[in-house]
Amino acid sequence: MSFIDIENIDLIYRNSDGDEIGDGTLALSEASLQMDQGEFIALVGPSGCGKSTLLKVVAGLIRANKGKVVVAGQEVTQPLKIVGMAFQNATLLPWRSTRDNVLLPLEIVEPHRQNFKSDKAKYEAMADELLETVGLTGFGDSAPWELSGGMQQRAQLCRALVHEPDLLLLDEPFGALDAFTREELWDVLQDLYLKRKCTVMLVTHDLREAVYLADTVYVMSARPGKVILTRKIDAPRPRKLDDLYGQDVVELIHDLRHHINVARSEQ
């Protein structure tokens, strides 16, 4: 049985208060996909096709109007308890140090929550270790706004992973970074993924990013979004950035790009 099972989801887009927006057009229509535990998938597709919405449905932050989502054998009816999320904006809290930002999930998720005060030193050491693995050694005491954009994203990844979630949901986390920083962070993410072996859903606009990081790439149609194409990426890990320039990878990216262009023109 798959770890995540999304079955024929229909969703009318709503604002944060749950009121339907506009004329009730569908953001998602008959969207389905299955993921295994420990799988890394990427969702690509035209702008506004409901990729981010699909992430929120999986997290239980929005409920679908039709169809169902099953995660780890349980139907999702409310926000899942153990999910790590990261977004294009780093959304770090400016009044906390970088270390305290990373620790935020532990102040909420059980069992850490009850032990947080008594085991503070242990948790802080944990956060520092995690910051070290993403190359932020010594920045724990810095305020988040003293960090560069790329460093903030590294810190955000730490925050998403500190409570060892089974599921990591990434919504264009590298979208606002320059090309070099982005490639650096792909490797940071790959290393973290290989270490933690959690299940990852990555929404991205960058086809190279999708092909480099994911085991499976899903192409979504224009709004209302559904999955129109699935591509397995069999390359062994850890992957190297140089592999992206191989002929087979270039052809694969070309093919994905073609499908997205067709989907866009059908809009």
């Binding site: 997290a59 932050l61 899942l80 999910v83 904006n89 809290l93 949901l169």
Partner: protein, 263 residues
């Protein structure tokens, strides 16, 4: 013009401007030979402050007490109401029109009503101070909570955080700069409220002292009262400005780049 851009100038500038205004005032009265019953000169006003220092001090105390009491009540209720309005749309929909209507009533017009209920004195002055400074606290607190970034909420909700967690981990700390901005305005408004009540209702306090001075044509004392009120208000503003820097330094980080710019 290095001095103009220096830190020292930043610190001295308010004092220099005040000094300049006082000199201008003094020169205006002396050169045009204005009768002191119309407008006393600066030195006559300061002389009056010294001469009536006991009366001013005795009357400043009830005004200060009413101001601080009214302000404290406004902070407690204003923060509570701001949180409710900022977080729950139905409360916002219900309360906002009523509050706007209430806020547009001239507060001077309410004082005579309160005099009938409670007579002149502490209660009336405190409540007028409260009414005047309540609104900015509510509005700022509500805005702070209503504008939490949705992604930030999502991060916490995806961890299973309750509404209470979101309020305490994000809502309250994030609203601090908004709250302190409101408190700085509110404390001066509370002062205005207390003085208005004392002036309209009588009783005691600086406002009443000025009313008495007016009926005696003691213009220097009236101006002395104004200076004392303004000075006290600046003092309280400064206390909250200092607290703001202490508690919400993270929100004013741009000032640092401002200070180094344009050298």
């Amino acid at each position: 013009m290095k001095f103009i851009h220096g830190k020292l100038f930043d610190r001295l500038s308010p004092w220099l401007l005040t000094l300049f205004l006082v000199i201008l005032w003094e020169a205006y009265v002396v050169i045009l030979d204005i009768p002191r019953i119309e407008l006393p000169s600066a030195h006559e006003t300061f002389a009056a402050i010294y001469k009536y220092r006991v009366g001013l001090w005795v009357n400043l105390q009830p005004t200060l007490i009413a101001t601080l009491l009214g302000f404290a009540i406004a902070v407690v209720f204003g923060v509570a109401m701001g949180v409710a309005i900022g977080l729950w749309r139905p409360v916002y929909a219900a309360c906002y029109p009523v509050m706007v209507a209430f806020n547009s009533i001239p507060k001077v017009a309410i004082v005579p009503i309160m005099v009938i209920w409670w007579g002149p004195g502490l209660v009336t002055a405190t409540l007028t101070a409260f009414i005047l400074c309540f609104f900015p606290i509510v509005v700022n607190m509500a805005v702070a909570l209503a504008t939490i970034e949705p992604e930030l909420k999502d991060v916490l909700r995806a961890l299973g955080a309750s509404q209470k967690d979101i309020i305490f981990k994000i809502g309250i700390p994030r609203s601090m700069p908004y709250l302190f901005a409101a408190l700085k305005i509110a404390i001066t408004l509370a002062f205005v409220g207390a003085v208005i009540a004392e002036t309209v209702a009588g009783g005691n306090g600086i406002g009443n002292l000025m009313l008495v001075a007016s009926s005696n044509f003691n213009t220097p004392l009236m101006f002395a009262g104004l200076i004392v009120i303004a000075t006290s208000a600046i003092g309280m503003y400064a206390i909250f400005a200092l607290m703001e820097v202490r508690f919400t330094g993270w929100a004013t980080r741009d000032n640092m780049s401002y200070a180094t710019a344009g050298g």
